[in-house]
Amino acid sequence: MTRRIRRLQQNGFFLAMPTIAWLFIFFVLPLLIVLVVSFMSRGRGGVAIMPLTLQHYERTFGVFFIILRRSIGLAGLTTIICLLVGYPLAFFISTRRRRLVQQITLFLVILPFWTNFLIRTYAWRILLGEQGTINGLLLSLGMINEPLSMLNTQFAVLVGLVYGFLPFLVLPIFASVERFNFRYVDAAQDLGANDARAFLRVVLPLTMPGVLAGCALVFIPSVGAFVTPDLLGGTKGLMIGNLINKQFGGSGNMPLGSALSIVMMAVVMLSLLIYVMAHRRERGA
């Protein structure tokens, strides 16, 4: 019996072959192509031609750096706001004694997923527009005299991103708090910690895995978002995702788009690395 298991373990590589082949053909190979293209020159119609050049990376960190920085900034801000809103919400949901209340609130968090993301983002255009719902309400209440211009700003993008990604943060934190043994809070208070200190010294560190996972799940897709900034940000809220998207269109620049993609991936990888290291420190402590 054990010998058979051992043989299966040795044969694990062969069992994984289809997956490995799949990943190689549809992930590693395209990635290598993108990497190579990012060092090539732009030809007619935006295609990649020889010779090799570094100019796209120069432009990425030159004229387009402001957009890269804005993307990281907006994604970071989105993560922080999601955390400030999402942690208390997740905490509230997971500490409900009544099962029904917990299930209903959890259901409400997941409910938006039932509608297409594009439609939900369009809905924000209606809410935030000059003649939109929010302006209409504020005007009729006499709180403002002329409509606020909220649409096509970075603010609108931020609202859209927070709205879109909040559930991704709430769910892992919910799972973390759900597993948390509240006897530790009793112990902390017994030892003289008030509510705030019990939270900071005991609850937060012990729910950190959920916090970190949630942050990664919000930050990474936020950096590369292009639907939200496209619909809500206009030119002022342009993010790196939009820029990349454009380069592969009609009058685009494939090598530049590839270089932007590589840099964006590097940013994401770096943040993932930080996540992994923070996680390891949590566990190793």
């Binding site: 530790y184 009793d186 112990a187 208070q189 017994d190 030892l191 003289g192 910690a193 008030n194 402590a285």
Partner: protein
């Protein structure tokens, strides 16, 4: 100024769950003295842990007052009370080292890190677990974790240490050792211990006084000897140790605390009345511990002539050898069955009594208690 460390005055705690109101603690009043080892004993769900949590401040009483060192505890949160708790599952912080766990409480008081570390190491010495400060709690055995939990609470030098079934998760041998150690530790530090347990033997061997609880009520408070030898209620007599319950009718109450009880077979015996006995009670139960019952051959007449001794005729129904003792089952008439335990001393032949043989059973009147039925 009160001389008591902890006073509970008419404490009631009602829990509401799904529309039902449960009285977890019901009109409990007790005074616990400074430096006392006080055990709260009872079956699970009797309200002993709730009582402990009320003292610790994790729960607020529905009514009644709690005083610690003469100070009323109303509105004082757990983190400002001069008590510390050793939890049943230890509740050691899993993300902190042993040392950091012990330092936690001191740092909350504002003790600086260097001093806190020094005192944490001393506390580890005190619970005889030096050299594990750098380890994580989950790398320690259950017994070691238990000691860390103890050190973490003791390092705060509380007025009262609350222990919630601290030995419950340990195996039997370790538990026995820890019982002695805990008792010795308590004597050394002189801190009042309030010790929750469902193990009657543990309570009897460790505590200065025991409070027996059932269904939220504190049925009896007394020294282990008082509780064991003079249980005041049927529940206490039954919960602690083995007891013979003989039904009977109370004929007469004497002024000396004794009464005449007529047993089912018609014999009338003299027995000691419980303080908690209902003043109108007619149908009663006489409780006698098995080891208080002696057996003699029917020819042994002198037994009856000794003052204060009850002697009855019985038939030996069976015997069971259990090592240190032999356990005899005896029939008094058709209605009453008694159990007697006799120690196996080497000059007495346990085979001297045979099943079916007529014998004389006897006990001292003061070994009995007349309880409500």
């Amino acid at each position: 100024m009160s001389t008591y460390d902890v006073e509970l005055k008419d404490i009631v705690k009602v829990f509401e769950s799904g529309g039902a109101r449960v009285r977890a603690v019901d009109r409990v009043s007790v005074e616990i003295e400074d430096g006392e080892f006080f055990a709260l004993l009872g079956p699970s769900g009797c309200g002993k842990t709730t009582t402990l949590r009320l003292i610790a401040g994790f729960e607020q009483p529905t009514s009644g007052h709690i005083l610690i060192r003469g100070r009323a505890m109303e509105g004082i949160p757990a983190y400002h009370r001069p008590v510390n708790t050793v939890f049943q599952d230890y509740a050691l912080f899993p993300h902190l080292t042993v040392e950091q766990n012990i330092m936690f409480g001191l740092q909350m008081e504002g003790v600086d890190k260097k001093e806190a570390r020094k005192r944490a190491l001393e506390a580890l010495e005190q619970v005889r677990l030096p050299g594990v400060g750098e380890r994580m709690p989950h790398h320690l055995s259950g017994g070691q974790q238990q000691r860390v939990a103890l050190a973490r609470a003791l390092v705060k030098q509380p007025a009262v240490l609350l222990l919630d079934e601290p030995l419950g998760a340990l195996d039997l041998k370790l538990r026995k050792n820890m019982q002695f150690e805990l008792k010795a530790l308590q004597r050394d530090v002189g801190i009042t211990f309030i010790y929750v347990t469902h193990d009657q033997e543990e309570a009897i061997t460790m505590a200065d006084r025991i409070a027996v609880m059932n269904e939220g009520l504190m049925l009896q408070v007394g020294t282990p000897k008082e509780i064991y030898e003079h249980p005041q209620t049927h529940f206490v007599a039954d919960f602690i140790g083995e007891t013979n319950f003989i039904p009977g009718a109370l004929l007469q109450r004497g002024g000396d605390g004794f009464g005449q009880v007529k047993l089912a077979d018609g014999t009338v015996i003299r027995a000691q009345l419980s303080h908690a006995l209902d003043s109108a009670a007619k149908a009663v139960t006489v409780a006698v511990r098995p080891e208080r019952i002696g057996i003699a051959a029917p020819s042994d007449r002198p037994a009856q002539e000794i003052d204060g001794l009850t002697a009855l005729d019985a038939v030996l129904a069976g015997s069971q050898y259990i090592g240190t003792d032999t356990r005899y089952t005896l029939a008094l008439g058709d209605e009453i069955e008694l159990v007697a335990r006799l120690q196996n001393v080497n000059n007495i032949d346990s085979a001297a009594f045979q099943a079916g043989q007529r014998v004389k059973v006897y006990w001292d009147e003061s070994s009995t208690t007349v309880l409500d039925q």
